[in-house]
Amino acid sequence: MIIQVLVNGIISGSIYSLIAFGFTLIYGVMNFFNMAHGAVYLLGAYLGYALCVKLNIYFPIAAALATAIVATLMLLIDNIAFRPLRTKKAPGWAFIIISIGIATLLEACVTMVFSSDVRSLTKGPIQPGYEFLGAIITRNQLIILIAAVSIMVLLTFFLNKTKIGKAMRGTADNPEMAIVVGIPVDKVYRVTFFFGSALAAIAGILVSLDTDIDPNIGNPALLKGIVASILGGIGNISGAFWGGFLLAMIENFAVWIIPGGWKDGISLVVLILFIMIRPSLFGIEIEK
């Protein structure tokens, strides 16, 4: 039983990490909390569903296509909404409010197009899972785990080794200095937003492999992303990775004892406890 809980924790942890990775990347470089992150996740899940089930495209291609479409759309939204705010040097709350507006808009669009019914990506009878040290793990869950971890590893490599990745880290560290040394900061922001949104979209698509989707999954996902990022120290990418797994473990072990409906509440209790006792597990201080 303990191993089953651990396995479940690792599977949902990989999703939480993916969400937190994008959230923390956007926060770290662009310095605002993207409240539309959950809506992007939702949009990814539904677009993946539409391409895969309605248009009958092979899943990996549908997933890549959906991610690219969602990320491009977010790039467009960035151009319309966030970029003018950046040029105006608007305060953080303006970004939060505008991202809430975008989240509401996207969520309503998804609900309108796909109705509020529960949708499922997988058809036919439930596949028997593999047995692993007494725990059951399905093929789709394995796909989720492998895909999520390899995407995060690739992205870390990208951030550490490529020129634009280094520019992103430089901008995150000190935007003024980045301008002075000739980093194209605006391009960096756009690339960041593109990749951050792509991560949320991928997370949504991967989740639909394992569970049913409905138009209300966006905000809980955002909450998970926020809590995982804060656990890991917001803006800290490896922290977001571990934060996601840690949160999932806490949740799964708690749900073992108390009813599953309380799951979202647990994340918040964890968040509040952390804020009160120790602002961040891996270094960076919360209070400014």
Binding site: A90, A94, G101, E107, T111, L223, L268
Partner: protein, 288 residues
């Protein structure tokens, strides 16, 4: 005619909610994304007090406000250690946990089924069963709260809140206990939201968790931003416009499901436009 009464009643309730949120968001600069939670706590407290304990309206409404206010304060204390954007995150999480509690504590809150059969109030021999009389009752409450907020924001207390928003360190330096003022602002905000919750519960005569989601908090928040921060006429204008304007969709004969989604889309779009084009809101005076 009934539709007009209904709209005026709802406008009144939302004017109260928006005014109280404006105190924390607009005046004190505390980003509270959990107003829907306070609204919900108020509505549930009113429902439980009047059904389970049979409190008469005149005793029930101050008790509800007090309970909500105290809960708001207790919840507010850990959240207030955070500043700016982090407070927005914590209060957003708060909204999720309150929703989780309402949904899962079935023996106490009725879970997803909610609490039906909340009676319309009776004050002495006066009963407010007709929609016209209830509209009058709500209007009286709204007017009282407008007067109260008008006085409060011009008082020394209101000026300290403004000072905290502008420069907390300086306010601390001139000998004001800023934490105390911030907690008080949260208390007043939750207190008034409790009144609105009670009025709502008695009006709809049924409460369920789906009315108090984070979307609700975002809606009230958009009313504040749309009308204008730090402005009482702005809040009144913002709340009534955002209630009345989407109702015109109903007159066009669009089915309820689509009307609800279009309404959400309009809210989102309005929020984006207002931040980009007129960040101080329709009638506010807090630009960046």
């Amino acid at each position: 005619m009934d539709l007009i009464y209904h709209l005026l009643t709802m406008s009144g309730i939302y004017v109260i909610l928006t005014l109280s949120l404006n105190l924390t968001v607009g005046y004190a600069g505390l980003f509270n994304l959990g107003q829907g939670a306070f609204f919900g706590i108020g509505a549930y407290t009113a429902a439980l007090l009047s059904i389970k304990l049979g409190f008469p309206f005149l005793i029930e409404i101050p008790t509800t406000a007090l309970v909500t206010g105290l809960l708001g304060m207790i919840i507010g204390v850990p959240a207030l250690r955070l500043s700016g954007d982090y407070l927005a995150l914590a209060t957003f999480g708060l909204g999720v946990i309150v929703y989780t509690i309402l949904n899962n504590w079935i023996s106490f809150t009725g879970g997803p089924m909610g609490i039906p059969g909340i009676p319309r109030p009776t004050i002495f021999t006066l009963s407010f069963n007709s929609s016209a009389s209830y509209m009058l009752l709500v209007t009286v409450f709204a007017l009282l709260i407008i007067v109260f907020m008008n006085r409060l924001t011009r008082s020394a207390f209101g000026r300290v809140l403004l000072a905290i928003r502008e420069d907390e360190t300086a306010t601390l330096a001139i000998g004001k206990n800023t934490s105390k003022f911030k907690i008080l602002a949260f208390l007043v905000c939750a207190f008034i939201a409790g009144i609105a919750g009670s009025l709502y519960a008695h009006y709809i005569s049924f409460v369920d968790p789906s009315s108090f989601t984070t979307a609700e908090s975002f809606l009230i928040f958009s009313m504040v931003v749309f009308g204008g921060m730090e402005s009482i006429p702005g809040s009144i204008l913002g709340a009534t416009t955002l209630i009345l304007f989407p109702e015109s969709l109903r007159l066009l004969g669009i089915p309820t499901f689509y009307a609800a989604q279009i309404r959400k889309m309009l809210y989102g779009l309005l929020l984006v436009i207002i931040i980009l084009k007129r960040p101080q809101g329709l009638w506010g005076k807090y630009p960046f």
